[in-house]
Assembly symmetry: C2
């Protein structure tokens, strides 16, 4: 752990292309409590988001990593904020603003149980025949559509099981983020969700690029390098509009 | 890992009070899929069940450990069966029968989503306003009420947040198991759920005993020793009826 801190210190102290830039990365699942013991969650491991936070740190960025529960080891040298629910993630993300770039990699629950009880729901008291749900705040949409202080670059992730490109392009239009990193999370041998490797499509204002299958660390390095290029280049995404 | 296997071999090869006895232990949470990425689960870590399986193995028992997803290291020298859902846990438990003793320590989901879809549910297609639920099979009740081949000793667990003893005694009567190990899982600093320590009440046909707070390993050793005593003693719980 000390070695990690030392590594992070020297990596960050080197002047990199992202030195002086502030970045928010969200990662992992969110956990939505039904009662003190039960919850709704999703299969996101946090691996891809943690790798992106580490890659941006390596380029010199000042990274805040807001993460849902994950058994992965978080990277050293970032501002780590642990949360459980979508509402907590929204609050922690807003607190991290302003940033130059927001990478919304977390698999945020779209819904939470409408009523959370502080006592365990008992089956014999009638229990549950259905679970009423309420829509959660949409972090990507909120940040993308900020009227003041919007990050120059807002990147969303789309985990899909079918029509990956179609759903991802629709998501980009709906949320008004700048880029979408889309991937297929259909269950299977090389499933991206929880696995070490990922095959992604990067969608930007210029179109879509399918990247070859690579490790999540390589996806992170490539994406971090593209972010650095975009935030440094003379034609900024937003300035070009 | 090799050291663990060697330890388990010598521990088991020693003649212990449970040598020749078959035991089923269920542990951990169950995970009930909503769609390929979302699920309902609970905060059980599997620690207490894994410790019980190890303690019974140490007394010479032939242990089948049926476990839901857990990041804990399972004990060596037991027959390990990994499952996700309550229905899978029911099937794996029935496959492990006949046994002399069943220790149903898993936090089995009482309910599962009525419909599981193989495509991710999309919010923009109307999404979910509520989640219809269906009752899961009751493993403890099923094993306790077997007409033929019932284990001589069936032990249930009751994780409660209020009126611990009352709920646990009612559970014992309803399920018709022989013993209940009850504990308080109210959230807090020393929460048993996920934590290392536990304060339990053991309820048997003779009444209830509150044990002092101790490590989960100590709870397991004490319980295993009581199981061994009961299965060896001249007055068996069931034979005495």
């Amino acid at each position: 752990a000390i070695a990690d801190e030392v590594e992070a210190y020297f990596l960050k102290s080197t002047r990199g292309p992202m030195t002086g830039k502030r970045v928010l990365v969200t990662a992992g699942p969110t956990v939505e409590a039904i009662d003190p013991v039960r919850y709704i969650a999703n299969r996101s491991s946090g691996k891809q988001g943690y790798a992106i936070a580490a890659a941006l740190r390596n380029l010199g960025a000042d990274v805040t990593l807001v993460t849902g529960p994950s058994s992965e080891k978080p990277p050293a040298g970032v501002n780590l904020v642990r949360v459980e629910s979508a509402r907590q993630m929204m609050a922690a993300s807003e607190k991290a603003l302003p940033v130059d770039c927001a990478v919304c990699c977390a698999a945020v629950a779209d819904y939470r149980p409408s009523i959370e009880t502080d006592r365990k729901i008992k089956k014999e008291r009638g229990g549950l025949t259905d679970l009423p749900l309420t829509e959660n705040p949409d972090i990507l949409k909120t940040i993308s559509q900020m009227k003041e202080g919007r990050p120059r670059l807002v990147i969303g992730f789309a985990a899909e099981t079918d029509d990956v490109l179609g759903h991802a392009e629709a998501k980009m239009a709906r949320k008004k983020c700048d880029w979408i990193v889309a991937n297929d999370v259909s269950p299977g041998e090389h499933c991206a969700m929880g696995g070490e490797r990922n095959t992604v499509i990067l969608i930007t204002e210029k179109g879509d690029e399918t990247w070859p299958e690579m490790s999540k660390a390589d996806v992170a390095r490539e994406l971090a390098s593209r972010i650095a290029q975009t935030l440094r280049g003379p034609t900024l995404v937003k300035a070009a509009e």
